[in-house]
């Protein structure tokens, strides 16, 4: 098997694009449900197309993740930490994939047209149904909070690799090959 030091360039671009989009999305979500100011409708308007963008990006990303060679973790990392690293990554992928689908599903169940701007609408993926909405709406909040906490842990771990261990793990996602 080929050994590489870095993630595929396209994966690195998508990673940082999604990092920005997801952090923005989590802040937009929590702010838009709380505020009664004119920010409310502005944030709601951004939330839907941005959610769709994240969904598209995560599908492309998973495809790339399965079809490209990824860098191995350094051998200096203990087994339990490797386990944690893999678990958190797959948890992140799962949440990034499922969260936009929950949002899409809950709006479908609420019977609300999912406007992407102008006359563009997303088709519903569930029939109008209160019971589905009642399950998906709180789930959307729960997954958002879990995603937020996992992102913070992921960030702390990445910074730990970058600033303290300096073992090339952070560079495998951030870096370009040094000549």
């Amino acid at each position: 098997m080929k050994h590489v030091g870095y993630f595929h360039p396209a994966l690195r671009v998508i990673h940082w694009l999604m990092a920005a989009a997801i952090v923005a999305m989590l802040f937009i979500g929590v702010a838009m449900v709380a505020t009664v100011s004119s920010l409310h409708s502005l944030l709601v308007t951004i939330h839907k197309p941005l959610g769709l963008m994240i969904l598209v990006l995560v599908v492309v990303r998973l495809w790339l993740r399965f079809t490209t060679v990824t860098p191995a973790l350094p051998s200096t990392i203990p087994a339990w930490q490797r386990g944690m690293a893999h678990l958190s990554h797959w948890a992140l992928y799962a949440m990034m994939l499922i969260q936009p689908l929950i949002g899409w599903g809950m709006l479908s169940a609420a019977g609300v047209p999912i406007a992407l701007g102008g006359k563009w609408l997303l088709p519903p993926i569930l029939p109008v149904n209160n019971d589905w909405y009642a399950i998906l709406r709180p789930l959307h909040t729960l997954v958002a909070l879990m995603l937020f906490i996992t992102v913070l842990l992921h960030l702390a771990a990445a910074l730990f690799h970058a600033l303290v261990l300096r073992d090339g793990v952070f560079a495998s996602m951030s870096g370009s090959r040094r000549r």
């Binding site: 952090v23 709380a34 409310h40 047209p113 609408l121 303290v164």
Partner: protein
């Protein structure tokens, strides 16, 4: 390449930084959600004060809790299509799912006790877009801002000692929000009608109609009844559900009709203040007729699970800068989330 080892001081500093970055993000997140600023008005606070006023009634709307579903059609005559490119204003019929209600959070309040009534409508366009609107049978809103609405609800909460609102608190409220005086003056002389069918329902908030060229027109609208006004009777005052019974009886005899009348602002008219009525000489356009044919109790009815969010608008209708619109949208969503969850719990389907 093996990095040079860090000194203990360097390592401590870097660990602190690693802890600090997620902590700062967490604090910002809590701030964005309103948890660090308890004095800031949020949708949660609006809904809880309504709940305090009307009592807790799981599975019901937090305001306008008592109502009935209606089904019908909007027959557009095409007159408004010059002002708005929304599909429902082209000549033709659009199906409508509506709801009549009385204000307040108590689903078993006697109809007579609540003079303010509402009509909410969801127009389902063929292209999948919807127009949802909640209108009230009063000519102006009591307050201009969400903060004013919150203050009004707080000031009119019953005093635990007397069971009635504290007149001192109400006085302090009027002093701070003098715009309320116009509503008081209207309420004093207002005699409620004997029927939802003869009420005129007004959008109160202004909106913008967008025409085919993309130009915006500031408007308000009203549903003007075909049925003649009849003042509330002595018998009505003793019948808890006279509005629902009257509606059912009328619909048994035939459909009920309203004209959708659009009022167009002139330059200088204020679209951001729902306490200010525009002068009576403003141009009006009759956009078509709402024909309601059937009523269904709300618990089993199709309107029960509809959130009549005034910001669910089709292309061709847009919000104005009236600050109440965003607050209504945010608070309705909160109320909708609560009651759908409670309804699912009541039927045993829940998370």
């Amino acid at each position: 390449m093996i990095p040079t080892p860090l000194s203990t001081g360097q390592k401590t500093l870097r660990l602190l930084l690693i802890g600090l970055v997620p902590l700062v993000i967490l604090v910002l997140f809590l701030w964005a959600g309103g948890w660090l600023t308890p004095e800031r008005l949020t949708s949660d606070k609006l809904v809880s004060v309504l709940q305090q006023a009307g009592g807790e009634h799981p599975g019901y709307r937090r305001n306008h809790a008592k109502g009935i579903c209606v089904i019908g059609t909007f027959a557009s005559n095409g007159n408004a299509s010059a002002l708005s490119r929304a599909a429902l204003f082209a000549p033709g019929d659009t199906p409508v799912t509506g709801r009549f209600a009385i204000a307040g959070g108590n689903p078993s309040a006697p109809d007579y006790a609540v003079p303010v009534r509402s009509m909410a409508l969801a127009f389902q366009q063929k292209d999948g877009e919807q127009w949802r609107t909640g209108m009230n049978a009063m000519p102006l809103f009591p307050v201009a801002t969400p903060e004013g609405f919150y203050a009004l609800q707080t000031a009119t909460l019953p005093d635990p000692a007397t069971g009635k609102p504290d007149p001192q608190k109400l006085g302090a409220f009027v002093e701070k929000y003098p715009e309320f005086k116009a509503f008081l003056a209207w309420a004093k002389q207002y005699v409620p009608s004997s029927s939802w069918a003869s009420d005129r329902f007004n959008s109160l908030n202004a909106f913008r109609f967008i025409d085919k060229t993309g130009a915006a027109h500031l408007v308000r609208w009203s549903m003007v009844p075909h049925a003649a006004y009849q003042a509330i009777s002595a018998a009505d005052k003793n019948n808890k559900d006279f509005l629902q019974q009257d509606l059912q009886q009328r619909l048994n005899q035939g459909p009920l009709e309203w004209d959708l009348v659009i009022t167009v602002a002139q330059p200088g008219d204020d679209g951001s203040n729902a306490t200010k009525v525009w002068p009576a000489d403003r141009q009006t356009i009759n956009a078509g007729t709402l024909v309601l044919t059937r009523a269904v109790p709300q618990q089993q009815g199709p309107c029960n699970d509809i959130n009549y969010d005034p910001l669910i608008l089709p292309d061709g209708i847009a919000a104005s800068d009236d600050p109440l619109l965003n607050a209504r949208s945010a608070a309705y969503a909160k109320s909708y989330n609560l009651r759908t969850h409670e309804q699912a719990q009541q039927t045993g389907t829940h998370l």
